[in-house]
């Protein structure tokens, strides 16, 4: 029997598989398909303080082994989340992590301050990297100073551990990860989606209502893996790997390059049972390779 649990230091997970924000709703949507208690963690959809209307459709454009989205973080806001969603999540034993959004630093702090009271929330994931936050994919995670300032404010406000979710749309992601670490982030998760564009050649129009969107899915996995490897080698805080994980073997690649845990995103849309299947496949691999603890795989990439 393999020990699948991973210790992030600030949070112990029963296995390294978290459901990624924005692809798993508020968790409840998947209760018909997945035993939520079996997951490593659930990162709920990004929350601004107030309800958020989101972007005009079309919001999705499928590409080769990928998906570009411009949902625009439509959501219900913190009040409705606490009143309507959290009570329904009381039953699950799985850590609930809230993905925190804001128009400005102060809104991130306001969301955290409001949610600090909620015992059920295990940690916050600071979403400073969604390319649909502002026009042209602008977001705080594109810049070390902006990252530092927002993480520091969030850390001062938060009574929970903080995971900073990074953008791949930068020249040097290691620099941004270090800024988050220096500002007190307890972990970093990467990568968010790649700023992308798809065109309909018949109409010569963008395939998304908002022109640009964020690319996710298997198409981005090698890019994400490279970044996770670089960041894991450069920071001391735990790294959570994200990017096109569809199978247990995909997840293992991220663990091998240094991620302590992974987030499964787009796969949830394709197969609502993906998280559970991936956990099973990781376990099968460990059993086959006679690995007693999944943590023993982390950061074991062999480079001569």
């Amino acid at each position: 029997m393999t020990n699948l649990s991973v210790n992030l230091g600030f949070l112990k997970l029963r296995n390294p598989v978290l459901a990624a924000s924005g692809t798993f709703g508020y968790g409840l949507e998947f209760a018909s398909f997945v035993d939520l208690d079996k997951l490593g963690g659930i990162i709920v959809k990004g929350l601004y303080f107030y309800p958020r209307p989101g972007n005009p459709p079309p919001r999705l454009a499928e590409t080769h082994s990928g998906l570009i989205n411009s949902i625009g973080l439509q959501g219900i806001g913190v009040h409705a989340f606490c009143e309507k969603i959290l009570p329904q999540l009381e039953k699950t034993r799985t850590p609930i992590i809230v993905n925190v959004c804001g128009e400005a630093d102060e809104e991130y702090a306001a969301v955290i301050d409001f949610l600090n009271k909620q015992e059920r929330i295990a940690a916050f994931e600071l979403n400073i990297s969604c390319p649909n936050m502002k026009q042209n994919g602008v977001c705080p995670a594109l810049n070390s100073q902006a990252t530092f300032s927002i993480v520091r404010l969030a850390k001062r406000t938060s009574l929970r551990p903080l995971i900073t979710k990074l953008s791949p749309n930068v020249t040097n992601i290691v620099e941004i990860a270090k800024a988050a670490e220096e500002a007190g982030s307890d972990a970093v998760s990467l990568v968010n989606t790649f700023l992308a564009l798809a065109v309909d050649v018949e109409t010569r129009r963008p395939r998304l209502g908002n022109v640009f969107g964020g690319l996710s899915g298997p198409a981005i996995k090698p890019l994400a893996l490279r970044m996770v490897y670089q960041v894991a080698a450069a920071v001391k805080i735990p790294v959570i790997g994200i990017g096109g994980i569809m199978s247990g073997r995909d997840a293992l690649e991220f663990l091998i390059v240094g991620a302590k845990a992974v987030e499964v995103g787009t796969a949830n849309l394709v197969d609502p049972e993906a998280t559970i299947r991936i956990i099973q496949e990781i376990e099968d691999y460990c059993r086959e390779k006679k690995i007693m603890k999944v943590e023993d795989i982390v950061g074991t990439l062999k480079i001569d």
Partner: protein
């Protein structure tokens, strides 16, 4: 909401670009309501990545049917499937057509434009079983775009058809054919599925005559289960219009709720 990763294709019919698959999936079939849909994974590869949404076209015992047009990569792969192959499906999803008790003994007009005819058959079956008379209006560009006409007739449904080019039935849009009908008599309810301009026209016709009308909307979908918020349409909620997930709160909405061609939030 159920997943059946090994739903067996039990029969298939094809007419040029139109295809109909019968899929054995007992638990999903048992729960299915008219107007609900399935998310179908067309292969186990990573391209195309997403499932495709299809209205449930009919239910027969332990099976459901889907009816679709080959329009892109997903439907092209699906069109190549043969009987005895299996499909990975999720369903039944969404909120289907509401059938009010007060319709009993009355007539409802059901309008299907092009592939929008898909959910109309299941609805017609349901209405008939509840002692409501479905009068069906089936529109297509040409006679070749009305492949399901014999099926409706064989099942004994009253059906009128139209083609844009006049190659069969009424010459013109199916909404114009409906308009003629509405000048003769007033149905107790209208149900429609088809291109948005058609449904928009029907909304106006129904409103002018104070006939309640429901419409089944279509969208690109990510998950089909309300998680990704990718399939929104502009829907009135109270005195405001919002982007509403059609996979979860729809795909069927009442006419007055829908903001046709809604672009701005």
């Amino acid at each position: 909401m159920l997943k059946d990763a090994r739903a067996r294709i039990i029969h298939k019919e094809s007419w040029k670009n139109y295809h109909l698959l019968g899929i054995e999936t007992p638990r999903i079939a048992r729960e299915a309501q008219p107007g609900q849909f399935l998310m179908v994974r067309v292969n186990s590869q990573l391209y195309p990545l997403l499932r495709r949404p299809f209205s449930i076209h009919a239910r027969e015992e332990d099976a459901v049917e889907i009816f679709f047009v080959k329009t892109g990569i997903g439907t092209a792969i699906l069109a190549e499937k043969k009987a005895e192959e299996s499909l990975d499906i999720i369903g039944p999803l969404g909120k289907g057509f509401t059938v009010e008790e007060s319709l009993k003994g009355k007539t409802a007009c059901l309008i299907g434009g092009g592939r929008g005819i898909a959910p109309i058959y299941f609805l017609a079956q349901e209405l008939r079983s509840r002692d409501i008379h479905p009068k069906i209006f089936y529109g297509g560009k040409t006679a070749a775009d009305l492949p399901l006409l014999p099926k409706f007739e064989a099942a004994g449904f009253e059906i009128l058809s139209s083609t844009d080019d006049g190659s069969f039935g009424f010459r013109g849009l199916v909404s114009e054919l409906l308009k003629e009908e509405l000048e003769r008599s007033r149905p107790a309810h209208i149900y429609a599925c088809g291109p948005e301009p058609m449904m928009k026209t029907i909304t106006t016709l129904a409103d002018a005559r104070n006939v309640p009308a429901q419409f089944s909307l279509e969208s690109i979908m990510g998950c089909g289960i309300g998680a990704c918020w990718g399939c929104v349409k502009r829907i009135k909620r109270g005195d405001r219009a919002e982007w509403v997930k059609i996979c979860e709160e729809g795909p069927v909405f009442y006419g007055p709720e829908i903001v046709w061609e809604g672009k701005e939030p």
